[in-house]
């Protein structure tokens, strides 16, 4: 089957392999001015080996890339924790308006009033959604928002004269970014267990929170897709010991308009504009990770902050208690434009968005829980976790095999092997922008795969069969990393042999 398909597909090549000296595509204007000579010791000796390819062939080359890729536009993409919702194209249209696109970030404030007002409006909506009044838009991604939040905690305690607060507690279900951020911020990490019901273990927590605790990092609902029923008690435990609570906003899509992190007791919140608010993921980025805080923490926010005086907006750089700058300029402005456009398409019905997300996830859960193992038998929120544990034990079929076979159904696999507390995990997040028919197709595919596990496990082991490539050898890639085109293949092989 794959041989027939391989014949129909053109043999792909790297752009560097298509290069022929003397060919070229773009030309740069030259104005007939004399070119000054640069100092000899600073001049480039040999030109970089960028491709010499004419424009038509560049178009052909880059056209085959989308043909070999799968996006939300292509099909269902239920990646848990990623919120792969529809990315509206009107957002692309407005971000391309010259007044935004061609605006230099160091333009005087009075020459950027439209941009600053847009940012202001975005901050207001984010503040309302979180239930916390002060916002920074500067962080470039969720992870950077996390790091910013932890730095804010450090600044708060330094200001209070409590520098000994050096421990951050995270859930054992936490996304890997949480402990990684803890290390980068120079804190120590402590973990708290999750109960069988999927809530934080309050007894374990009470034992671990003390005067060395700076705070908690938590996402709610958790990565299991479950709202922590004890969240009020959790907040009380930390606040009563003088510690703070940080909300990882990765799962915010579950609760917009239904519950606010600020009301749950969180003091610092980050958002993922590329999850909840439709910034396209772009194959890995860009994103945006704004942070909202309680008013007491506002003085420490990254500088500059945005100030409104009547109808005039300006950036305030005079922020003596600020933790400093975490990214260039005011942040990833193009991401703000798209997220604000998304929010304006809903208005107060952003609540409907979360309701539909939770409905869709529960529908899938109800229809799949008899076919796969369900570690936590309760209603979920916007995502849920199944396990392929029984399939593995009885038929040798793993979560990985299920994922690869879904590709043959033209469905992107869910997140696998996360969270770590569930063996053979499949984390499924449909989002709100899928129709019931699409969900039913997914259920049919998953049921079909479960059937193949019993009747035809070999086909699962060899999946995918219908993608541009078969299963790829990741072991080889890790043992012998080839991370750029070698230009002289023989020389590269010799280098690898030598280790």
């Amino acid at each position: 089957m794959s041989d027939a398909n391989a014949g129909a597909r053109p043999k792909p090549g790297l752009i560097f392999e298509k290069s022929k000296p003397g060919r070229r595509a773009g030309r740069v204007p030259s104005y007939g001015l004399p070119v000054p000579e640069l100092p000899a010791e600073l001049r480039r000796e040999s030109p970089p080996r960028l491709p010499d390819v004419p424009e038509n062939d560049i178009f052909r080359h880059f056209t085959q890339l989308p043909d070999r890729n799968f996006g939300i536009d292509t099909g269902f993409y239920p990646l848990g924790s990623c919120t792969m919702k529809h990315n509206p194209r009107v957002n692309e249209r407005v971000v391309g308006l010259p007044g935004f696109r061609d605006l230099h970030p160091l333009q005087e404030d009075e020459g950027a009033q439209g941009a600053l007002e847009l940012m202001w409006e975005l901050e207001q909506i984010l503040a309302e959604v979180a239930g916390l009044p002060a916002v920074t838009l500067q962080p470039a991604a969720g992870s950077q928002g996390e790091l910013t939040g932890l730095m804010l905690m450090r600044a708060v305690f330094a200001d209070r004269g409590e520098p000994g607060r050096n421990v951050i507690i995270t859930a054992d279900t936490a996304h890997g970014t949480n402990p990684a951020s803890v290390t980068m911020a120079g804190f120590e990490l402590e973990k708290v267990a999750t109960t069988d019901r999927g809530n934080l273990d309050l007894e374990d927590l009470r034992a671990k929170v003390d005067d060395r605790t700076a705070g908690l990092m938590l996402t709610n609902p958790s990565t299991l897709g479950l709202f922590d029923e004890g969240i009020e008690a959790v907040a009380e435990i930390f606040h009563s010991r003088g510690a703070l609570l940080y909300y990882d906003g990765a799962n915010l899509n579950a609760v917009v308009g239904r519950s606010r992190p600020g009301d749950m007791g969180f003091d610092i919140v980050h958002y993922n504009l590329h999850k909840t608010f439709s910034q396209p993921h772009g194959g890995g980025g860009p994103g945006g990770g704004p942070v909202a805080v309680r008013s007491e923490i506002e003085p420490f926010l990254p500088a500059p902050t945005l100030v409104r005086e009547g109808d005039v907006f300006r950036l305030d750089h005079d922020r003596p208690k600020s933790i400093g700058r975490v990214r260039g300029f005011a942040g990833p402005f193009g991401v703000f434009v798209r997220s604000y456009a998304f929010m304006r398409a809903y208005g107060p019905a952003l609540k409907d968005m979360s309701e539909a997300a939770v409905l869709n996830a529960n529908y899938l859960l109800a229809r799949l829980k008899d076919v796969y193992d369900l570690p936590y038998d309760r209603l979920c929120m916007h995502e849920f976790v199944l396990s392929a544990r029984t399939l593995k034990r009885e038929h040798g079929i793993t979560a990985l095999d299920v994922a690869k076979r879904l590709m043959d159904h033209r469905i992107h696999p869910p997140t696998i092997y996360f969270p770590l507390v569930v063996p053979e995990a499949l984390m499924i997040e449909p989002t709100e922008t899928e129709t019931k028919e699409r969900l039913d197709e997914f259920v049919d595919a998953m049921r079909s795969i479960a059937g193949e596990a019993v009747n035809d496990p070999d086909v699962l082991k060899s999946a995918p069969l219908t993608r541009p490539v078969r299963r790829l050898d990741e072991v080889k890639a890790a043992k012998h990393p080839i991370v750029r085109y070698p230009f002289e293949p023989e020389a590269e092989e010799a280098r690898i042999e030598a280790g």
Partner: protein
């Protein structure tokens, strides 16, 4: 529930789904939220706008910005008005790339993975390095990333930064350094560039020493000597460079740098009020296991076909967690892809021409603008002029005449209130420079 935004839920859908779940209403699904933290009123946010009205609203906001299509601009200082070829917009709007996630499932993502592999190759070629990651957030945070690598590689804690390294880059490093257990020292400039002997003095006990080429004043540093100064001191030598200059200027790897970093915006990205753009980070092979962010590697599939995968993922947060080389997950892939496409479109000839046009215009500006140079140093595409009145005042007056003449360096450098940094890109013409010269001559008299 009425159908809002991008939803599709009809009443028929709703009742079928509630029945399958076994509840009677959507409220039942939210019972798990304790009463005390439920939000019971409508969100106080602006009303919903259908698409045509939405576009109108954004057009009104956009119209209140003085962008470079409306004001003749010579602003630079790290972000530049270079030409973005049409081919970039074509491919960045392809939904299979735009709406794809990180390529963790490689069989679904060969397009993105191959593009990143090609991008990594291009960055290594330009910078003379062995390995590049798939992008960092921007030109400031990659400097912090480099410091994190240096901390673990050398065991030392001192960071040395040239004062002529972009001010925002230095600010971000200073924000990150305490968490890394590092302290920052800055080396002041001498007449517009860094004295290698001074740099060497500070680098002797440093983990890392970072300089910029061309520097924040537009001047060309004695880069090979600065690299040597850092290396001799046992510090990791890092050059913060401009991709647009690397058709003419030597690659950092060729003159001995351990790493090369920078802001990629000048190749392939619109200015966009500061972002999103892409930071790049490239290093010698000995640093591969310490690199932050994603790296794409080449491999084969079950049938021996070449393919690409994320590799060495055990460095990253989703596996190594608190011992990861970085917490980075989301990066700037789409913007880096724009950079790759632009580099392919330019080719080596085009990149050389780009450097030549910019430096030729800068030389022309030096001739025509009747202001003395602030620094007696060779330059690239930016020129620092000394102004007879404060540079901020020059900017205000010039803008009244429809020209933004450049960046007043006094905003970041005490004692340089009378220095204006003028950037020349290939989108400016000699006539534009004539206009600048005329306006400056008017406002400075």
């Amino acid at each position: 529930m009425s159908i809002a935004g991008y939803l599709s839920l009809t009443d028929a859908d709703l009742s079928a789904m509630l029945e399958a779940i076994g509840v009677s209403s959507i409220d039942d699904l939210f019972e798990q939220i304790p009463e005390g933290v439920r939000f019971d009123r409508p969100l106080d946010v602006p009303e919903a706008l259908p698409e045509a009205a939405l576009v109108r609203h954004f057009e009104e906001l956009a119209a209140r910005n003085a962008d470079t299509s409306r004001e003749l601009s010579f602003l630079g200082m790290g972000i530049y008005d270079h030409y973005v070829p049409s081919i970039v917009d074509t491919f960045l709007s392809r939904g299979e790339l735009l709406t794809a996630y990180t390529p963790y499932q490689p069989e679904m993502s060969q397009g993105v993975l191959q593009a990143i592999f090609e991008y990594q190759t291009a960055i290594c070629e330009l910078t003379g390095m062995d390995v590049s990651n798939a992008s960092g957030y921007d030109g400031t945070t990659v400097a912090a990333d480099a410091c994190f690598i240096a901390r673990h590689h050398t065991g030392r804690s001192k960071v040395v930064l040239a004062e002529t390294l972009n001010p925002m880059v230095r600010q971000v490093v200073k924000t990150y350094a305490p968490g890394f257990g590092m302290e920052v020292t800055e080396v002041p400039h001498d007449g517009g560039t860094i004295d290698p002997a001074r740099f060497a003095g500070e680098a002797r006990d440093a983990a890392i020493a970072i300089f910029q080429q061309p520097n924040a004043f537009g001047c060309l540093e004695p880069a090979p000597e600065l690299a040597a100064a850092a290396n001799e001191g046992g510090a990791l030598s890092v050059a913060h460079v401009d991709l647009a200059s690397l058709g003419l200027l030597e690659a950092p790897g060729a003159y001995g740098c351990a790493m090369a970093i920078g802001e990629g915006q000048s190749i392939g990205n619109y200015q966009s009020y500061g972002g999103p753009h892409y930071g790049f980070l490239a290093a010698g092979n000995e640093f591969i296991r310490r690199m932050p962010g994603r790296i794409v590697g080449e491999t084969t599939d079950l049938e021996g076909r070449r393919g690409f995968v994320l590799t060495l993922q055990t460095r990253e947060q989703h596996i190594r967690r608190e011992k990861a080389t970085s917490n980075m997950t989301t990066n700037q892939t789409l913007l880096a892809l724009a950079g790759l496409i632009t580099l392919c479109w330019l080719g080596p000839e085009g990149l050389r021409e780009l450097g030549e046009t910019c430096t030729a215009l800068a030389a022309y500006a030096k001739e025509r603008v009747g202001l003395p140079l602030a620094f007696e140093r060779p330059t690239f595409k930016e020129v620092a002029f000394r102004t007879p009145i404060p540079a901020r005042e020059v900017v205000a007056r010039a803008r009244e005449r429809g020209v933004h003449p450049g960046y007043p360096l006094g905003r970041d450098y005490p004692g340089l209130d009378d220095v204006l940094l003028v950037a020349l890109t290939e989108k400016r013409t000699p006539a534009d420079v004539d206009r600048l010269a005329d306006v400056l001559s008017e406002v400075c008299s």
